[in-house]
């Protein structure tokens, strides 16, 4: 049997040491590894899965790149991070299927219109280009939207991109810049000495390092616990569906206030349907299974929002496990008592759009020691005691 030459010898070589180990090659980990490698640091990006991941949040991601609808304290971060998408395709030399044709969140309930208006007003104050659209204007803006929709919050600079292509492109670009990527390399525990990170124990042996970025999504909690850090995360499995290729009729991303739906039509023609519907997932194995009730209710919501899709066929559904934090906001930041550890997880279903930007800020922190104000609202300390073992170990 003829064997194709393996890509590099590094894949199988046990790696002994590096400067930074990034655990988890989802959107956040891949972005961080890329920007670290770009800054010239020695980086090892490890993931317990194979090259296209499976079971995690980034591969069950709706691909929305939106400013609107975020918690207000996250808006400055979003305004910084989302413009990265404008240059990402060129920087990574890959077509990410990024489209920026707007997003509108609609409502069909009179009494919810003021809620939309209030959020729009607040977001305008925060500097976002967003406005309300009503009645006929809404129908002109989004042909095909259900006539029962009364109003919507329209942000013209929101959009969407392809998560799989994006993560792959970030990983490849990181490799081109010198990052070592190790697939099927499962982090088993973090090792600290005298209150600082010295290594990561993996299924492929120990990797000595001075910094660890823990961006392993729902798997971060167990790893953080190995150095006495408690991450208040719960794993939730989220489902997605995609239809057959259809004639192009929708350029915007659509949401519906109070209903679980995120609807977009991707460049290859299919409609991608998300909305936070739960599936079944097993953290230990990373295996997921679909919940039929979620598919049915998601389909119901889709048709109610965009009736002309009723005869379009779903060809595939899939799911991934995401880490939801207690306040549904990410934890990003260094950990007192464990020098060299940086947590970047718990993005609770909204990490994709800001992932590349967050990765760049993490790289800035690791290279300069200064943490951007944009990340400081998301420190672990906000949950009270960070759960470290208190004092530095007196060794």
């Amino acid at each position: 049997m003829k064997r194709m030459p393996r890509k590099t010898g590094q894949e199988n070589e046990a790696m002994k040491s590096t400067e930074v180990v990034v655990v988890g090659a989802g959107i956040v980990g891949a972005s961080t590894a890329y920007f670290l490698a770009k800054a010239g640091l020695n980086v090892a990006l490890i993931d317990c899965r194979g090259v296209t991941g499976s079971g995690g949040a980034s591969q069950a991601c709706a691909g929305g790149v939106r400013h609107q609808g975020r918690v207000p304290i996250e808006m400055p971060l979003a305004l910084y991070a989302i413009p990265f998408w404008k240059i990402l395709e060129e920087e990574l030399e890959t077509d990410l299927h990024y489209r920026r044709e707007g997003m509108t969140i609609v409502t069909d309930e009179e009494n919810l219109v003021p809620r939309l208006e209030e959020r729009v007003a607040n977001e305008q104050l925060l500097g976002l280009d967003i406005r309300m659209v009503y009645g006929e204007d809404l129908r002109r803006l989004i042909p095909g939207i259900s006539p029962r929709m009364l109003a919507g919050s329209y942000c013209p600079i929101d959009g969407h991109a392809d998560p799989l292509r994006t993560v792959n492109a970030l990983v490849s670009a990181a490799q081109r810049r010198g990052a070592v990527v190790k697939w099927c390399c499962k982090a088993q525990c973090l090792v600290k000495e005298n209150g600082r990170i010295v290594a990561v124990n993996t299924s492929n042996g120990k990797i000595r390092c001075s910094q660890v970025v823990l961006s392993a999504g729902a798997w971060s909690r167990a790893l953080a616990a190995t150095v006495g850090v408690t991450l208040p995360f719960e794993p939730f499995t989220l489902q997605m569906m995609v239809t057959r290729r259809c004639p192009h009729v929708l350029g915007q991303v659509l949401g519906w206030l109070g209903h679980g739906i995120s609807l977009k039509q991707v460049p290859s023609g299919g409609f991608v349907i998300g909305g936070g519907w739960p599936g079944h997932g097993d953290l230990a194995t990373g295996k997921t299974a679909l919940m039929p009730g979620s598919m049915a209710k998601s389909a119901f919501t889709t048709i109610a929002l965009f009736p002309s899709l009723s005869k379009r066929s779903v060809i595939r559904a899939w799911a991934g496990i995401e880490a939801f934090s207690m306040d549904e906001m990410q934890v990003t930041g260094p950990i007192s008592g464990v020098d060299g550890l940086f947590i970047a997880a718990g993005f609770s279903g909204h990490g994709f759009a800001i992932g590349p930007g967050v990765g760049s800020l993490i790289a800035d922190f690791i290279t300069t020691g200064r943490l951007s104000e944009l990340l400081s609202p998301f420190n672990l300390d906000r949950f009270g005691s960070s759960g470290t073992e208190g004092k530095r170990n007196a060794e």
Binding site: M1, K2, R3, M4, P5, K7, G50, V51, T52, S54, L164, N168, V181, Q188, C189, V191, E193, N201, K206, R221, A222, A225, P232, E234, F236, T243, R244, G260, G275, G276, W277, P278, L283, L290, M291, P292, G293, S294, M295, A296, K297, A299, F300, T302, I303, S310, K311, R312, S313, V314, I315, R316, A317, F324, D327, E328, G349, E389, N393, E395
Partner: protein, 126 residues
């Protein structure tokens, strides 16, 4: 057809043998599911019914991967289902009650730990 590389393996997504070979050469993909995600072979409307076996054979011949190592992951629906058929009877499902939200976080946090055989105990190091 000018060369074997032009042979269309996945008809639905028009993925050629050349594209699959390129994927095996230039990426870390080693299983049918990884090749699928990187080349789109098997992601089209027939969901790999026509090409899955051929892709497995290509992996066996070109990469030494044993047949049956990792089967094509099959996901519902097992054939295309119109959205209105999926939606019919949505009300009959008692679960889920709705999309994931903070409300679902009211249950106590689990106590799943790390892979205990590998964790240092009480700060002890290897």
């Amino acid at each position: 057809m000018n060369s074997p590389d032009d042979l269309v393996i996945c008809r639905c997504e028009s993925v050629t043998l050349g594209k699959i070979r390129e994927c095996l050469k230039s990426s870390a993909a080693r299983t049918v599911n990884e090749v699928k995600k990187l080349t789109r072979a098997g992601m089209g409307v027939c969901q790999g019914r026509t090409c899955a076996r051929t892709v497995e054979l290509i992996l066996e011949r070109e990469d030494g991967t044993q047949l049956g190592t990792e089967p094509y992951q099959v996901r519902p629906p097992i054939r295309p289902v119109p959205l209105d058929d999926l939606a019919a009877g949505a009300e009959d499902f008692s679960e889920p009650t709705g999309p994931v939200s903070v409300v679902m976080l009211r249950k106590p946090l689990g106590t799943e730990g790390c892979d205990e055989t590998h964790a240092p105990k009480n700060g002890a190091r290897e």
